[in-house]
Amino acid sequence: MKFLRQFAARIVGQSIRIFARAITAVRADWKGIEPVPRQRVYFANHTSNADMPMIWSVLPPAMRRTVRPVAAADYWLKNKLRAFVGPEVFNCVLVDRRPEVKDRPMDKIIAALDEGSSLIIFPEGNRNMTDDPLLPFKAGLYNMGLARPDVDLVPTWVANLTEIMPKGEVIPLPLICTVTFGEPIHVREGESKDDFLKRASEALLAQRPEART
């Protein structure tokens, strides 16, 4: 049974990847890093539920096997299908965002890093539905960088998804989606939380493909 579930997870994973490639011709732009298996935290902008599968799809197989998206438990455990796709296909680190829960998200994240996994996180915390390119970052990224300073924090910009699938639309448009990986950053010695988060946010914005009008 366990074997069957793993097999099904791999099939579903491949199907998602092929679907993403066929519809959006999604491609990676390795601007600041090489596609080599190193422990990294990819922090990305978040405008749509398809952000995470897009990043996941452009990673080469060896990197995809070791990467774990950090995702909200309330979303991924809502029904049986999601509970299969989130934890088993994408191998998500599920964190509970409710304040009353004892189990602290950062412990789970640090544990995943200590296992050697790379992570995908969305430091804005929520999907960005505003016209601003980025919402203010939550402290999580800073805490990770502080706790595990050797891990590369890679700014990762996912472009065009708002146009491919705007909120409230049903049919996705097959436009080209680009995932840009920038140069990694680290928390500097003595750097305050706000300074670091500001720098991280600027590093992410710098990965946006040139603005077109």
């Binding site: 491609r27 705007p166 049919i171 436009l175 080209i176 040139e210 077109r212």
Partner: protein
């Protein structure tokens, strides 16, 4: 094996022969090149030759499969081209449904009409029906901001990526007296003369080009263009045996297509410059996207189609 198939195979092997020669030439140049000195010209040339191998293989296979093969290949090319262009055009959420219809309704219908050979419909379907109907769909969502820009850019995308590209397979529907089922060969003729003209335009432009056609836009020169068009005419005359045009007719048709293709390339370059991109996409490694690869054929196709229809049917 009928004579059309035999001719396609002959053309394919001929093209492979030329490609083998071009590949060997490149490899010799590379072998003579010191390892540590990079040569971007040579690299560009080699990636270009590689993508031609792919093109000859794909178009050759499609032609051998006959009508279904050609229709599938060009429908896919249209889809990829439309995706490349619409990624860069102005749009708002109000256009979402209209754009989805461009991909999933207009494009398939255009190819169905071409496949059925409904000449009266596929030549007007996009410029009349799609151009009038899609803006209505956008307008219904009630967002007037930059409406004209959004509509105009979407229409240009459909014109280039779907209307023009579909005129390549449309050549199969031409009913030319005494030519029978050989109209497949017109596709090979068009693609080959236009691509060869481009290659020699590039080559002579580098060698003897002095006077730029559109300074600030493209390195194309008048000298290169004249040499390219003349070469296309000579090559067209040599290929006259696969056409219904006769030797002089074939040379003139080849020259006209090549000339339109070269100016079409300028138009495409201007659009890319306007959007600040070098290539339309990264679909073909080192070569950009479909539109980069086929821009001159795309512009030449409707003109070639109309000229053939006017003079030979």
């Amino acid at each position: 094996m009928n004579s059309t198939t035999a001719d396609i195979l002959l053309l394919a092997f001929g093209s492979f022969g030329i490609l083998i020669a071009l590949t060997i030439l490149g490899e010799i140049l590379r072998a003579r090149q010191p390892v540590h000195e990079p040569n971007p010209m040579l690299d560009t040339y080699m990636t270009r030759v590689q993508s031609w191998w792919g093109m000859v293989a794909f178009i050759g296979a499609a032609l051998l499969l006959g009508k279904p093969g050609v229709m599938t290949l060009f429908a896919f090319a249209s889809f990829a081209a439309l995706r490349e262009i619409l990624t860069l055009t102005a749009k708002a959420q109000a256009d979402h449904l209209a754009l989805a219809m461009a991909f999933f309704v207009v494009l398939p219908l255009q190819y169905i009409f071409v496949g059925l050979g409904w000449t009266g419909l596929f030549t007007v379907f996009i410029p009349v029906y799609a151009f009038l109907f899609l803006p209505m769909v956008s307008a219904l969502r009630g967002d007037p901001q930059r409406f004209l820009v959004r509509v105009a850019e979407t229409q240009w995308a459909l014109m280039i990526a779907v209307f023009c590209v579909s005129h390549v397979p449309a050549l199969m529907s031409l009913d030319i007296a005494g030519y029978g089922d050989r109209s497949l060969l017109l596709i090979a003729f068009l693609v080959m003369v236009v691509q060869l003209g481009d290659l020699l335009d590039f080559f002579f432009g580098r060698r003897i080009g002095k006077h730029k056609i559109a300074p600030g836009l493209s390195p194309k020169t008048w000298e290169g263009m004249i040499c390219g068009v003349v070469s296309a005419m000579v090559f067209g005359a040599l290929l006259a045996w696969i056409t219904p045009f006769g030797v002089i007719g074939a040379a003139l048709m080849a020259g006209a297509s090549s000339l339109v293709g070269m100016f079409g390339n300028l138009v495409v370059t201007a659009i890319k410059r306007d959007r600040g991109v070098k290539d339309w996409s990264h679909l073909i490694p080192g070569q950009g996207g479909f539109v980069d690869q086929l821009d001159s054929v795309i512009f030449a196709a409707p003109i070639f189609y109309q000229l053939t229809k006017f003079f030979y049917t």
